[in-house]
Structures are given as C-alpha cells and as structure tokens.
C-alpha cells in the first residue's frame, strides 16, 4: 500500500474550546489508484490532507493520535527535515485556489524551474527547458512564449493547470488534490479533471481527490470515502456507493442533489445542520439528523462495519447499515 492513514485524530485548541476536527480517520490509496474523499465543508477533509502532507497549522492544530504510513513508514515519526524531503519529491498537493498558492511576483517559469534547481540541482537553463516541457504537458498553448508570464496573466483554468504542472514536476508517487476544480466554471472544470486523470494514469500515481461535489468524482475515482464530522462514515467502490449507499448520510446527500434529467416537486433535504465540532453529539455524530436513528445511536459510537452483502466491498459506520442498504 502506498499510503495508509490509521485512526488519525487532530484537534484545534482555540480560545473558544477544543474543536475535534478529525476523529479517527482511516483510509488508504495504492499506486495508480484514485480515492475520492467526499464531505461537506468543515467535515475535516482538508485537515486530514494537511496532516498527511505535514503542513498542518501547529499550533493551534495538534495530531493527538494515529499513524500515517507512507510506503510502510510512519511519517509521524519523521523529523521535519526528512518530512520536507518527502514533500514535493514524493508527495505533492494541489489546492483549490491557484492564484493564492502561486507566487504573484515570480514568473510561472521561474516557479516551475525552481522545483528542478532546488530538488534536482539542475542548471537554470535546463530547468527552464523543463518548465516549458511541463507547461506543454498540461496544455498551455504557446508554452515557450508564455514561460516568462506572471500568474495573474493566466485565466483561472490555466492557473490551475500550472498548479498541476508544479505538483507533477518531480513525478511524485502520491498527489493530493484539495477541491482542484471548485473555483472553476463547469466547462473548464471538465478540462482540468480530464487532464488530471490522464496524467495520473500515465504516471501511475496514487491520487487523493478531495471534493464536496459527488458529480465531480464519478468519472475518475475508484473508491469513495465519505466524511462527516471528522470521521469516515462510509467507504466503497464508486459504483456501489451510487447504487446502494450503506449509510444514511450518504443516502441523504445523494437524494438531495437535484438532477439534470428530472424535475421533482420538492428536493429531499437532510434536516438540521452539521454539528459544532466543539460539541459533537454522543453516540453516532449523525443521530440528530438521521431518519433511522434510535436509542442505541445516541449512546453507542458505531464502528466501521464491513458491508458483507452481495459481493460488496464497502464499509459503513452505521448500526443499521443493513436497513439502510435495503430501505
């Protein structure tokens, strides 16, 4: 296994109290595999990813438990110096907002080239040639003549492609893309997702794709992990999740999306709001909003059950997953 996160816990200690942002997340990705991490805003998707990358804001953040195994070694036992070597060369991250993650006063060519001068000890001239090659690869038209341009001179879609180029520069084994297309228009979103999926296949990388939009991942993900209040509530191969969700939260999410091909009277809506992370409900965190909830849900935290039916290969953190699957 390329990456295996085991029972990760992260807290933020703030003036108002302790926010339990990540409460026992486990997931894994292999080479050439795409894992989509799906969840609403605040569910802990980004914090988990930051912990994996080693870029968590500490303090106020603190990893209070768990392991992050990368190629079999627990990154949490690494020194910062070793961590830095892994970052960039072996794992890279793509952020939602390309404009604020690129340096505004350096040309994109210089920023791409830096990857090669710093990590690979290349000469400036060679690094520039590499930068052009990368820009070409992510389909920036007339790359050779644009390598000296600054980030603000590119459109949103092009900047996101440059971010992808940057992440790919050293051909890492793992890429984490945190809402890479959320800020883009639908027609440009499709271009960027296609490019990312194609390069991932070509380089046989592991890809973690973080999103709040179920639609975005349908084409490219192998597995989906659904997060709620800092835990994975369901994980399964893409097709299974759509056909037969085994957790009431996943089911509710799927039903509340309006569909292009039908026009209903009323949209299904999950009642209530996601919990305050300083005060997560006892038992199952979803119980105040769950249509299937009963007494045991308010007292006992559901473990991640194996969904053992009909060749299914999923997991669900619901005491009544069977009922959910069939109801």
């Amino acid at each position: 296994m390329l990456l295996e996160v085991r029972d990760l816990h992260v807290e933020f200690r703030t003036r108002d109290g302790v926010a339990r942002a990540v409460n026992g997340v486990s997931y894994s990705v292999d080479e050439g595999e795409t894992l989509a991490v799906l969840g609403e805003s605040g569910s802990g998707k980004s914090v988990t990813a930051q912990a994996v990358m080693g870029i968590l804001d500490t303090p106020p953040g603190k990893i209070t438990g768990g392991e992050i195994l990368f190629k079999g070694q627990d990154l949490l036992t690494f020194k910062e110096e070793e961590r830095r070597k892994v970052r960039g060369a072996q794992m890279a991250m793509i952020f939602q907002d390309a404009l604020s993650s690129l340096n505004p006063v350096l040309s994109v060519g210089a920023q791409l080239g830096e990857m090669f001068t710093v990590h690979r000890g290349m000469s400036r001239k060679d690094a520039k040639a590499k930068a052009v090659e990368l820009m070409d690869r992510v389909r920036i038209p007339a790359a050779a003549s644009r390598v000296g341009d600054y980030p603000h001179q590119f459109s949103g879609g092009m900047r996101q492609r440059i971010m992808i180029a940057m992440a790919l520069a050293l051909e890492p084994a793992l890429i984490i893309a945190d809402e890479p297309t959320t800020a883009l228009d639908v027609t440009v979103q499709a271009q960027v997702m296609d490019l990312l999926a194609e390069l991932q296949r070509e380089l046989n990388m592991g890809l973690i794709l973080i999103t709040h939009d179920l639609g975005v991942v349908a084409d490219v993900a192998d597995r989906i992990a659904v997060m709620y209040a800092g835990t994975i509530v369901e994980s399964a191969p893409v097709h299974d999740i759509y056909k037969a969700p085994a957790h009431p939260y996943t089911k509710g999410l799927l039903e509340s999306i309006p569909r292009l091909d039908q026009k209903g009277r009323e949209l299904y809506a999950i009642k209530g709001l996601p919990p305050n992370l300083m005060n997560i409900p006892s038992g199952c965190a979803f119980n105040p909003r769950c249509p299937l909830a009963r007494d045991v849900c308010r007292t006992d935290v559901p473990p991640l059950y194996e969904v053992t039916e009909a060749g299914a290969d999923g997991r669900s953190a619901c005491h009544f997953w069977r009922e959910c699957l069939h109801g």
């Binding site: 609403e40 805003s41 459109s155 949103g156 879609g157 092009m158 228009d185 639908v186 027609t187 440009v188 979103q189 499709a190 271009q191 296609d194 709040h212 939009d213 179920l214 639609g215 975005v216 349908a218 084409d219 893409v238 097709h239 759509y242 056909k243 509710g252 999410l253 799927l254 509340s256 999306i257 309006p258 569909r259 292009l260 091909d261 039908q262 026009k263 209903g264 009277r265 009323e266 949209l267 299904y268 809506a269 999950i270 009642k271 709001l273 996601p274």
Partner: protein, 375 residues
C-alpha cells in the same frame, strides 16, 4: 464614445409569455475602459451585458445560467435598479421604468427585490437580524407603520423557517443556510411581486442547498411570487425554473421552456454546458456524450466578431465570424414546430441530445415525465 457604446442589434421578441410582468428588451451595460490620468480617454468598453431580451410571466420562474463573468449579476443589478443600463428597456407591467417619475419608480422598486449570492458578506455584521430584515421599511415606511415592524419581522422569520426569538441576534451567530434565509426574509419584507435571486444557493453545501431551494419553492406558491433565478448550476436551475435563458459573454444565446433547453438544446454552447455538468451516477454518465470545449471564455472587453461563441465552437465556419446570429427560432425548426423550435442564436443550430432521455431513468413515484409542448 458613441462608437464603442453602440447598441448591438438583437433578435426581437423572445418566446411569448401569456402575462408578462417584466419585459426586458435590448438591455446593455458597458463599463468604459479609460486611459490617462489628466485627460481620461475612453479606449474601449467592458461589454458586461450586450443586448439581452426576455419576458418574465406573473408567478413564473425564469432561470438564467451561464459561466462566471457572462453578465448574470449585472443583469440582476439593472433589474433592481442598482445599476443604470447603458441602453435598452426594462418594462414593468408594460411601462419602461426609465421613464417613470421618481415617485412611480419608488413604487416599482418596492415590487422588485433582490436576494444576493453570498450569505457571508451580504449581511451587515453590526446589525441585528431584526434591523437587517426591517431595514427596507426605513425606505418604504408606508408598508409598515413603526409600531408594527417588530411583529412583521418576527412573522417573516417564521415564514422562512427561523425562530422568531432570534430577532436580536447577529449574522455571525447563524450558519450559511440560515443567513440565506435571513436574506430571503429581507427580500420578502416589502411584499414584492418579483424576486431577483442572484446565485442564492451557490455558496451553500448540498444538504443545506436543498432546504433553501424548497423554501423558495414554497414561498413562491404561498405569495404568488415571480422569480428571476440566477445560477451557474444547471441542475438547480432546471429544478426551480419554468423557462431558462442560457447566457454567454453578455447575451442570451438560447432560451425556452425547461424541457426544450435540457432535452432539446440546439445551441452548441448549451450542449457543451449540459454535457459538462458533473452527474453523480456513473451509470447515467455512460449514456452521455461529453463535449469538452477548448480554451477559455474571451474577455468581455474584446468580444469576437460575428458569433461570440465561435472561438470555442467546434462547428464554427466562415459565416460565424462575419454574421451575428440572432436569438430567434432557427429556420430549420420554425415550420415543423416541436420542442426544438425555440430561440437559439446559432447559424447552424441542430438538435443534439446530451442529457439521456428521462424514460431511461427511474422517476420517483407520482412524478410524470415532462411532456414537451406540442405546437
């Protein structure tokens, strides 16, 4: 000046609406681009809105979709008088609002209210919810005498599904979805006939989005409201709209009833937009053809000649660079009628099914598939 601000020709009357409450004709908003400090010289214009026509029927919902920067918000602001049009007419019940006396205009404004895109920044953080929702009464005191206002605001909170006791709280004490409800309550305060909602749910999470969309649906039937509903999410727009207009670079390029646009699109841009919509169900995706457009939307300061979509259109030919296609029912469909016969601004309009037909999909019980109108 007159040169660069010239008003483009548009395609005349859009699809007929039985009882239009609002008629928009040739609406244009150009922002001048200037150069020089001492002698400001106009060097061009950002053509944010460049000739938009539509009708809004009483009690109906017109959806407007399009990508970022195509001019949706600018249209919205002109409808509620936050921006003055460079040219064109906005007729409310037949009267051009630009020609009204200031008194008559005030009454019209009362009847057209706006709900904004971003629930996080559109509410003043230093005002209580009661003051925010009641603020319109300061401008239109005739609607609610001072002594009545608190009660009115509490009723409005109740209508949008918030606890009336929250009247003294501040915006930061509410979630995004709740804040959007506050924005809607404020939009309803003056009992308007028309609500212009600019991306009212775009900033919200899926599960909360559904709550707000349902609320808007309910309020529409309860108060007989007409909506102009702006969004970039085509699925939401279909859900809520009776008719839809697709915008590209400052113009409506295709318009029609929801089934006409979604099941029988004839404009290449609409087809590409529909095919790019992320659809969650992987099996449904397999029935779809995907059209991936190359390139980005051109700048509205530099609109291509002829058809404005031609730089990204896979069907573009020489004629497209020379002749502006008008928004009208394409000749090919004019006589045969049927769902493809709706206005589409393309010289080579052709039907292309992008969303798989509904019969293939399982509809929830009690829900009949939309019948395209027979003409």
């Amino acid at each position: 000046m007159a040169e660069s601000m010239s008003v483009p020709a548009t395609g005349g009357a859009p699809t007929a609406v039985a009882e239009p409450i609002l008629q928009v004709r040739g609406l244009v908003k150009h922002y001048p681009l200037t150069q020089g400090i001492l002698f400001r010289k106009q060097v061009g214009a950002v053509k944010a809105v460049d000739g938009v026509d539509f009708d809004l029927g009483a009690g109906e919902t017109l959806g407007i979709v399009g990508e970022s920067g195509c001019g949706k918000s600018t249209v919205a602001k002109m409808l509620v008088n936050l921006e003055r049009p460079t040219a064109g007419e906005i007729r409310y019940k037949g009267e051009d609002i630009a020609k009204l006396s200031s008194r008559a205009l005030k009454a019209v404004r009362r009847n057209i209210q706006m709900v904004f895109q971003d629930p996080y920044t559109s509410l003043n953080p230093r005002m209580t919810v009661g003051d925010i929702i009641g603020e319109p009464y300061e401008i239109h005191p005739e609607v609610a005498p001072k002594g009545d206002r608190r009660k009115r605001v509490q009723d409005l909170l109740d209508v949008v599904g918030l606890n009336p006791e929250y009247i003294n709280r501040y915006p930061h004490q509410f979630s995004g979805g709740q804040r959007q409800r506050i924005g809607i309550a404020r939009g309803l305060a003056l009992r308007p006939e028309i609500i212009v909602a600019d991306e009212p749910v775009s900033a919200l999470d899926v599960s909360v989005q559904a709550q707000v969309v349902n609320l808007m649906d309910r309020l529409q039937s309860e108060f007989g409201l007409s909506y102009v509903f702006i969004a970039h999410d085509l699925s939401i727009v279909r859900h809520i709209s009776d008719r839809v207009g697709v915008m590209y670079l400052g113009r409506i390029v295709e318009t029609g009833r929801d089934a006409e646009i979604y099941d029988h699109p004839t404009h290449p841009y609409t087809q590409a937009l529909l095919s790019a919509v992320p659809v969650p169900d992987p099996e449904a995706r397999e029935h779809r053809e995907r059209i991936i457009l190359s390139g980005d939307v051109p700048s509205p300061a530099n609109i291509p000649s002829g058809c404005r979509f031609r730089t990204r259109c896979w069907k573009a030919q020489e004629r497209c660079a020379l002749e502006v296609p008008l928004l009208a029912v394409p000749a090919a469909f004019r006589y045969e009628g049927g769902p493809a016969a709706h206005p589409s601004a393309c010289h080579f309009a052709e039907e292309k099914q992008v969303v798989p037909p509904e019969e293939k999909r399982d509809l929830p019980s009690g829900e009949a598939p939309q019948e395209p109108p027979k003409s």
